[in-house]
């Protein structure tokens, strides 16, 4: 679950990481008031979850309250990176001397939290990483022992920092690690970490991604509909289903991420186009009813293609849900299905008897049939 910048900065403030003075607003009038209250030149930042908002025009500067109101009015309600902007963070404009980069994420290979930092922060950090990887300092943190001050200092020195800057950076990094651990983050990132003209170090941005699989114990965070690209994806997630809308016309229902991706690959291979990604494997197989419902909501869908080869997802249970959905929702589109795995005999029996569906012998046959029906 991605946090908005203003939410991340609240966590930072609570733990003592310096952030700019700022106020979150939802209207142009409030943006003007916030600018007046801050009493300085301000920056007005659209609160969206995707990166790249700066280049897309989602950040504006304002020297007066009037300018702040205007800038806010221009951004609010606009579409940025497929998100509708409804919240703005109005912040004091920093006098930026230099921009650093600092992140903690997870190194799957070393199985440890990984600190990445660079003296060359800002919007071009990915280019820095590609062109001059030696300018990215990396430190793996032993998970049980945790981040100790000496290791945080070492990062500071490796960035070429000294004196008060090294101390301020060390302090921020130690606190950022506590945010990372305490909130079950998969990513915390400050870009840029600004050194101001008067030598202070301030987190000018805040990215905090809570690992979705830890939300059960991170009870301060609820992943509501605003965190999804659209309402259907949100609803899918509530049923435990992974759903992504795509451009084609073959409605896909599959168990397991790997098989689902393979089915999409095969559809493309045979010249068709999938209407969606939809995975209902794992412990959520009972939700095959909801899966069918979601796919049928999409008006682009011309053919429904079901592929399962379940392990924990038992074919018989899946088929019960599907049969129920077909009986109740009465889809007009043709349905192609290949249902295999644990309980496959009973599953075929259910589909045949209850809804007259004759499953295909394997995935590729099913895909070829669906592509043909969809006009591919």
């Amino acid at each position: 679950m991605k946090l908005y910048e203003y939410e991340g900065k609240e966590l930072f403030k609570k733990i003592g990481i310096p952030v700019p003075r700022g106020i979150m607003v939802t209207s142009a009038a409030a943006a003007g008031e916030a600018a007046a209250q801050l009493g300085t030149e301000v920056v007005i930042k659209s609160q969206i979850l995707q990166g790249g908002r700066g280049k897309a025009g989602g950040i504006k500067f304002a020297a007066t309250t009037g300018e702040a109101r205007e800038a806010a009015a221009a951004i609010l309600g606009s579409q940025l990176k497929a998100e509708t902007v409804s919240k703005l963070l109005v912040e004091e404009k920093l006098a930026i001397a230099r921009e650093l980069y600092l992140a903690i994420t997870i190194d799957a290979v070393k199985a440890s939290p990984l600190i990445m930092a660079s003296a060359a922060g800002g919007m071009d950090i990915e280019e820095v990483a590609r062109e001059t990887p030696e300018r990215i300092v990396r430190e793996a943190v032993p998970i049980f022992r945790g981040l100790l001050p000496f290791q945080a200092r070492r990062v500071a020195y490796r960035l070429g920092l000294a004196g008060k800057e090294a101390s301020a950076f060390t302090d921020i990094l130690l606190k950022l690690y506590r945010v990372f651990r305490f909130y079950d983050a998969e990513l915390v990132e400050i870009n840029p970490l600004v050194v101001t003209d008067d030598g202070k170090m301030v987190a000018a941005d805040a990215k905090v991604n809570i690992y979705d699989g830890a939300l059960f114990r991170q009870i301060d965070f609820v992943k509501g509909p605003e965190r999804y690209d659209n309402e259907r994806e949100y609803r899918a997630a509530r049923y435990g289903l992974g759903y992504v809308k795509l451009e084609g016309n073959i409605g896909v229902l599959c168990t397991g991420a790997g098989l689902t991706m393979t089915v999409l690959d095969l559809i493309n291979y045979y010249g068709g186009k999938p209407a969606n990604f939809l995975e209902f494997g794992g412990a959520t197989y009972k939700n095959s009813y909801y899966a069918m419902q979601l796919v049928l909501e999409d008006p682009d869908v011309k053919v429904i293609l079901i592929n399962t080869f379940g392990l924990v997802a038992r074919a018989d249970v899946i088929s019960q849900g599907l049969a129920q959905a077909i009986k109740e929702l009465k889809p007009t589109q043709p349905i192609i299905a290949s249902i295999r795995g644990t309980g496959e005999e009973e599953a075929r029996e259910i589909l045949r008897k209850e809804v007259g569906l004759e499953p295909y012998a394997n995935v590729e046959e099913a895909v070829r049939a669906a592509v043909k029906l969809a006009g591919g």
Partner: protein
């Protein structure tokens, strides 16, 4: 025959009295698995399908001896259960749980390495040495999918294990051990580690790698092959060529992967290491026949 798991391996089933634990215990017993005991805290003294239930893993080890565990407990308790098994000295843990917090996964993998044990998973379908024993959800009783043989199978995604294995069997070959590493960001055991085990297993003549977009396990495995760590014939199928792009993790994601992680990068790395690449699952059998 195969790696890590045989019909001799004595197994603890953690979470045996839950719905899933009970259902799959029956299947595992039917598959030949040598289940020494089950564990559910507070349910010690009962039985499940004839398997005695204890309060702690340590009790099973003391009373019956055990080398492995398969864990059917929900996410909030999964780390604890895994540490219990590792601390009791078990060297193979199949951690099926879907939804383990990633930082718990870091601790699990780190501790497993410290004590020299293999944790398979989390978020995986389990593993089986065909004809001997099964831990997890692998439907080894589907005879058109699973036949004993000398091909090792390693999958990141569980759902493709059945599909690919059915093509191996259709091609007239069989499987030694198949292992699902799991789809989570931090697997307890990596592709490279399993390849090292298959390299040592005389019974295994070749392997099939079922990879997918994301991460760098396939590229790391290719590096391992290039330095001679794995030299047997291998076929790979990598899923996800047309997957919707993942939601980007700030700049950090891009900095960390730096060009690794795509299907193309994985296929070309493996290909350069001498692995035959299947474009579709159905090609696996033919490619395998050519080289084993």
């Amino acid at each position: 025959m195969g790696i890590l798991l045989s019909k001799e391996t004595r197994v603890v089933v953690q979470g045996i009295t839950g719905n899933e634990g009970t259902f799959w215990t029956e299947r595992m017993l039917a598959a030949g698995t040598n289940i020494a005991g089950g564990v559910t805290p507070g349910k010690g003294g009962t039985q499940v399908h004839g398997v005695p239930v204890y309060n702690t893993v340590q009790e099973v080890v003391e009373k019956h001896g055990a080398e492995a565990s398969v864990i059917f407990v929900p996410p909030p308790f999964a780390k604890d259960a895994t540490f219990e098994a590792l601390e009791a000295g078990l060297k193979l843990i199949v951690l099926l749980v879907d939804g383990l917090p990633v930082q718990d996964a870091l601790e699990v993998r780190t501790y497993a390495r410290e004590v020299g044990a293999y944790v398979i998973g989390p978020n995986n379908p389990g593993m089986a040495t065909i004809g001997e024993a099964m831990l997890g959800f692998i439907p080894v009783w589907l005879s058109y999918v699973y036949q004993p043989g000398n091909i090792g199978v390693i999958a990141r995604s569980g759902s493709l294990i059945n599909e690919v294995c059915s093509h191996i069997v259709a091609a007239g070959m069989g499987i030694s051990t198949c292992i699902g590493l799991g789809g989570d960001p931090v697997p307890g055991t990596t592709l490279t580690e399993v390849l090292a085990l298959f390299q040592q297993d005389e019974h295994t003549q070749g392997v099939v790698i079922i990879g997918e977009v994301g991460g760098s396990m396939e590229e790391d495995a290719a590096d391992f092959m290039k330095v001679g760590g794995f030299t047997k014939p291998a076929v790979a199928f990598i899923a996800g060529r047309s997957a919707p792009p993942g939601k980007k993790m700030g700049h950090a994601g891009a900095i960390m992967t730096l060009g690794r992680g795509s299907v193309q990068s994985k296929e070309s790395a493996l290909s350069a290491a001498g692995v035959k690449i299947a474009q579709r699952p159905s090609e696996v059998g033919r490619l395998l026949k050519d080289i084993v």
